[in-house]
C-alpha cells in the first residue's frame, strides 16, 4: 500500500527502517520535518539541539557509541557544523552516521543558495542524492549500510523541491535497532596529529574504494533512449529532465561523490552529445571536464535559482516559452502576522532611526516595507558580533544609535559567544533578544529556553535573563514589545548607557499563544484624519479605505493586539470590550 509522503518524512522512514535509534537536528527550512518525523517513533531518541554543530557532535558520539544515527540540517547549517564534519570524515563511524543537507536552490527560505555537494569533495565524504520520496526512503536506508561498510559518514543531499514534495512511497518493515559494541580505539577516534595522519591515509583509501563502488552501485543507472543526446543528472533535476525529454538517454547519478569515471566515460562514448543538468553548481560537470571528456553544462544552464522542466525543454528541445499574459498586479510579500510581537520592536526602531544589526528568523521581515528597520542580516547569530564590529569601526557615539536584534532560538543557537565577546572586549552594544518562546519561522519548534523537548516532555528551562547576567551583562531588563512607550523608553535608556545592555522583549508568538480575543477594535471615522500612521505598522488587521480616505479594521484578521491603537495620535481607534 503506497502512500504520499514529503521527502523529509520519507528520509525519516528510511532511517527508521534501517534501524536508526538516534536523530538530532536544529530546525531549518527545508530540513525541519526530518527529525520532527523521527520524534514520532517511540523507540528512537530524537532531539532538537541548540545548533547544528552540537547536533552533529551528538550524532558523532552516538555513532561512536554504536547506534545508527541521523543528523539533519539545512544547507547553511552544514557551515555551522563544518568543523566536526571535516574531522568525523577522518574518524569514520561505528554505528552508521547519515548527515542530511537540505539545500535551497531558489532561496525560498534562506539567505544563500550554496550547493552542498561541494562539501562531499572538500570533506571527502560520499554524497547521495535522491530524486523523489521513494528514493529518499530507500537511499537513506542504503546510506546507513554504506556508512558502516566503508567506515564513513554519508551525506544525503536533498533540495527544497524534494523535501517538500509529496510523492508515493511503499513502506518497508521497521528494522531492528541494533547497538554495535563499543571498543575504545584512540587512534581512530582521538584526532591529535599523530593519530590524524594515520586516519588521513584511511580516508584516501576509502575514497578509492568508494569510487570503485560507484561504478556498480544501484544508486547509479543508465536509462537508454535516443543516443543523439545523453544527459547526466541527479536529484530532482532528473525528474525535470524526464518530463521535458522523455526519449533521450539518461545517466542518473544517485551517488554524486565520488563519481563513477568508467561508467561516465562509457556513457559519453555511446552518445553523440553529452550534457550535465544539475542544481546548482557545476559539481559533476567540472569533474567530467577534468577527465578530458567533451561535455556541456553551465554554458546552457544557469547558476541561479531552481530549475524546471520548461527550462530544460527550451534549452535542449527548442521549446518556446509559454506566453505571458502581462497582467500587471501588485506583489504580495510575506508579512509579520497580526498580533506579532516583533512588529512593536521594528516599529519603534524605525521611529528612533537607529542602525539595526539583524538576525535570522521571522523578524528578518522587519527589513521589508513598511517597517524597513534593519541594516544588515547575514547568518544565524551574526547580529551581536556585527554590532560589536560596527562599534569598533565607528566608535561609541555610533553605538549609542545602534542595536543588535536577535530571536530567542537564534540567541541560543549562536548569539551567546558574540555577547561574551562584547563584554570581554568592552563593547557598549544594546542587544534586543526577541523572546517569543518558540522557533517560529520553521514552524514552532521548541528549544532550550522553552523548557519542552521535541517529544513534548517538560525539561529544565534555560533562563535567558540569568544567562546574560552570568556572561557579564549588568544591565538586563524585560519588556513587553507591544507596550510601545515602555519599549521605546527602555531602548533609549540602554542606548545612553556606555555599557553593554540586553533588553529581552518578551511576548509569545501570536500563532502559538493566541491570547483570547476579549475585545474588538474599530476606527472612529469622525476622529480619523487619514494620516496612515496605523497603516505604516504593516498589519493585515488594518487597511486604508481609499474611497473614504480613512483607516478601517479588517475584522477577519485583526486579533485586537492594540498596537494600532497606540500609534494613533488622534485616539481614533477604539476598543470595544466583550
Amino acid at each position: 500500500m503506497k502512500r504520499l509522503m514529503i521527502g523529509n518524512e520519507a528520509i525519516a522512514r528510511g532511517a527508521y527502517e534501517a534501524g536508526a535509534s538516534v536523530a538530532t537536528a536544529y530546525p531549518g527550512t527545508p530540513s525541519t520535518e526530518i527529525v520532527s518525523n523521527m520524534a514520532r517513533y517511540q523507540d528512537v531518541y530524537a532531539e532538537w539541539a541548540p545548533n547544528e554543530k552540537v547536533a552533529l557532535e551528538v550524532g558523532i558520539g552516538a555513532s561512536i557509541g554504536g547506534a545508527r544515527t541521523l543528523v539533519a540540517m539545512k544547507h547553511v547549517g552544514i557551515n555551522v557544523a563544518a568543523d566536526p564534519l571535516y574531522t568525523v570524515a577522518y574518524t569514520g563511524v561505528n554505528g552508521g552516521l547519515v548527515i542530511v543537507s537540505a539545500d535551497d536552490p531558489g532561496m525560498h527560505s534562506s539567505q544563500n543558495e550554496q550547493d552542498n555537494r561541494g562539501y562531499g569533495q572538500f570533506a571527502k565524504l560520499p554524497v547521495i542524492e535522491p530524486s523523489d520520496s521513494q528514493e529518499a526512503k530507500d537511499f537513506t536506508s542504503l546510506a546507513f549500510d554504506i556508512s558502516e561498510e566503508f567506515d564513513t559518514p554519508v551525506m544525503l543531499r536533498v533540495t527544497t523541491r524534494l523535501s517538500h514534495s509529496q510523492t508515493l512511497v511503499e513502506e518497508g518493515e521497521p528494522g531492528e535497532r541494533v547497538l554495535k559494541e563499543y571498543k575504545k580505539d584512540a587512534p581512530k577516534y582521538v584526532m591529535l596529529p599523530g593519530y590524524a595522519r594515520g586516519r588521513h591515509v584511511e580516508v584516501e583509501k576509502r575514497m578509492v574504494k568508494l569510487a570503485e563502488y560507484a561504478e556498480n552501485t544501484p544508486l547509479n543507472r543508465i536509462e537508454w533512449g535516443d543516443r543523439r543526446l545523453g544527459i547526466i543528472t541527479s536529484g530532482v533535476a532528473y525528474q525535470y529532465v524526464r518530463e521535458a525529454l522523455p526519449d533521450v538517454s539518461v545517466l542518473k547519478l544517485g551517488l554524486v561523490n565520488p563519481l563513477p569515471k568508467d561508467l561516465i566515460t562509457s556513457f559519453a562514448d555511446q552518445v553523440e552529445r553529452l550534457v550535465v543538468v544539475e542544481e546548482l553548481e557545476p559539481v559533476i560537470e567540472q569533474q567530467i571536464k577534468a577527465w578530458g571528456i567533451d561535455v556541456e553544462g553551465k554554458e546552457l544552464f544557469t547558476l541561479l535559482g531552481e530549475y524546471s522542466p520548461e527550462m530544460i525543454a527550451q534549452r535542449l528541445a527548442g521549446a518556446e516559452p509559454a506566453t505571458s499574459s502581462q497582467l500587471d498586479i501588485p506583489p504580495r510579500p510575506p508579512l509579520l502576522c497580526p498580533g506579532c510581537p516583533h512588529r512593536g520592536v521594528f516599529y519603534t526602531l524605525r521611529r528612533m532611526r537607529v542602525t539595526v544589526m539583524g538576525d535570522i528568523g521571522c523578524y528578518t521581515l522587519g527589513a521589508l516595507s513598511p517597517l524597513e528597520a534593519m541594516d544588515a542580516c547575514v547568518c544565524m547569530g551574526a547580529s551581536i558580533g556585527m554590532a560589536m564590529g560596527m562599534e569598533k569601526a565607528r566608535g561609541e557615539e555610533f553605538a549609542a544609535k545602534m542595536v543588535a536584534v536577535i530571536g530567542d532560538s537564534t540567541f541560543v543557537h549562536s548569539g551567546i559567544t558574540p555577547l561574551i565577546d562584547t563584554v570581554y572586549n568592552q563593547g557598549t552594544s544594546t542587544v534586543l533578544i526577541l523572546d517569543n518562546d518558540t522557533t517560529a519561522m520553521t514552524g514552532h519548534q521548541d528549544h532550550p529556553a522553552t523548557g519542552v523537548t521535541i517529544k513534548k516532555s517538560p525539561t529544565k528551562k534555560l533562563d535567558i535573563e540569568a544567562l546574560v547576567r552570568a556572561v557579564g551583562i549588568d544591565n538586563v531588563r524585560v519588556v513587553d514589545p507591544l507596550k510601545l512607550d515602555e519599549l521605546e523608553a527602555a531602548i533609549r535608556e540602554e542606548l545612553e548607557r556606555r555599557e553593554p545592555s540586553v533588553i529581552i522583549a518578551k511576548r509569545a508568538c501570536a500563532l502559538i499563544d493566541p491570547t483570547p480575543i476579549t475585545s474588538t477594535l474599530f476606527v472612529d471615522e469622525e476622529l480619523c484624519n487619514g494620516c496612515k500612521a496605523c497603516i505604516r505598522i504593516g498589519c493585515t488587521g488594518i487597511f486604508f479605505n481609499d474611497d473614504e480616505k480613512k483607516a478601517a479594521i479588517n475584522p477577519n484578521t485583526c486579533v485586537s493586539c492594540g498596537m494600532c491603537v497606540q500609534v494613533c495620535k488622534f485616539d481614533a481607534i477604539k476598543v470595544v470590550e466583550g
Partner: protein
C-alpha cells in the same frame, strides 16, 4: 505528457490551500494514479502568495507543473488567480473564489486593488468561473470550510467521483469539523452543476 492532470491551487498564506491540495491528491491516490504534490513552506506562509501543485496520471515525473500546462487553476483569492495565470494551458479552466485579500501595497494605499481583475482574467481565459465560496461556507456553518466548497467545485470540473472525495475528506478532516466540511463539499459539487 498530455495524460497528466495538472491542478494549480493558489492563495494567500493561511487560507487553507494545503488541505485542498491534500484532498485532491488523496482521491488521486485512491483511484490508483501516480501522484505528486509540491508546495513551498517557510517564509512565504507568512501572509505571502502561496501555491500548491497537484499532478496525477499514469506516471508523473516533475513535481512542478511546467508553465503553460496546468489544466485547472483554483484560486482562493482573485489576485492570486492573476498571478499564476501563465501556468495555465490556453484553454485551461480557472475557478476563482470571489474573495479579496489586500496585499501590503494595497493596504497602505500605494496602489489600488485591480477591481476589474476578474474581467481581465476572463478575457484571457474564457473558461473562467467565479464562486462565492466564503459565503457558501458561512451558510454551511463555518467560514473556514470555504476551501472545501472550492474542492467540491474543482472535483466536479475535473471529474473526480464525489464518493471518493467524501472518503478523502473523512480521512483528512478532524471528526468535529467533518459534518460542516461534507456539507461544504456537497454545496460545491451542486454549485458547479447549476452554472
Amino acid at each position: 505528457m498530455s495524460q497528466i492532470m495538472n491542478v494549480l491551487i493558489t492563495g494567500v498564506g493561511g487560507q487553507g490551500t494545503l488541505l485542498a491540495s491534500r484532498i485532491i491528491a488523496q482521491v488521486a491516490v485512491d483511484l490508483g494514479y501516480d501522484v505528486k504534490v509540491t508546495e513551498v513552506h517557510g517564509m512565504a506562509q507568512r501572509g505571502g502568495s502561496v501555491v500548491s501543485e497537484v499532478r496525477y496520471g499514469e506516471k508523473v515525473y516533475s513535481p512542478t507543473i511546467p508553465k503553460g500546462q496546468a489544466d485547472v487553476l483554483l484560486a482562493f483569492e482573485k489576485l492570486e488567480a492573476a498571478r499564476w495565470l501563465d501556468y495555465l494551458k490556453p484553454d485551461g479552466i480557472v475557478i476563482i473564489n470571489d474573495e479579496r485579500v489586500d496585499p501590503l501595497p494595497v493596504m497602505s494605499g500605494k496602489v489600488k486593488y485591480p477591481e476589474d481583475i476578474i474581467d481581465r482574467i476572463s478575457q484571457l481565459k474564457p473558461k473562467t468561473t467565479v464562486a462565492d465560496a466564503t459565503q457558501t461556507a458561512i451558510e454551511c456553518g463555518n467560514v473556514k470550510a470555504a476551501n472545501v466548497v472550492l474542492v467540491g467545485i474543482l472535483s466536479k470540473v475535473i471529474g473526480l467521483p464525489p464518493e471518493k472525495v467524501e472518503e478523502a475528506i473523512r480521512k483528512l478532516v478532524p471528526p468535529k469539523a467533518l459534518e460542516v466540511n461534507l456539507a461544504a463539499f456537497r454545496r460545491g459539487v451542486d454549485w458547479s452543476v447549476h452554472q
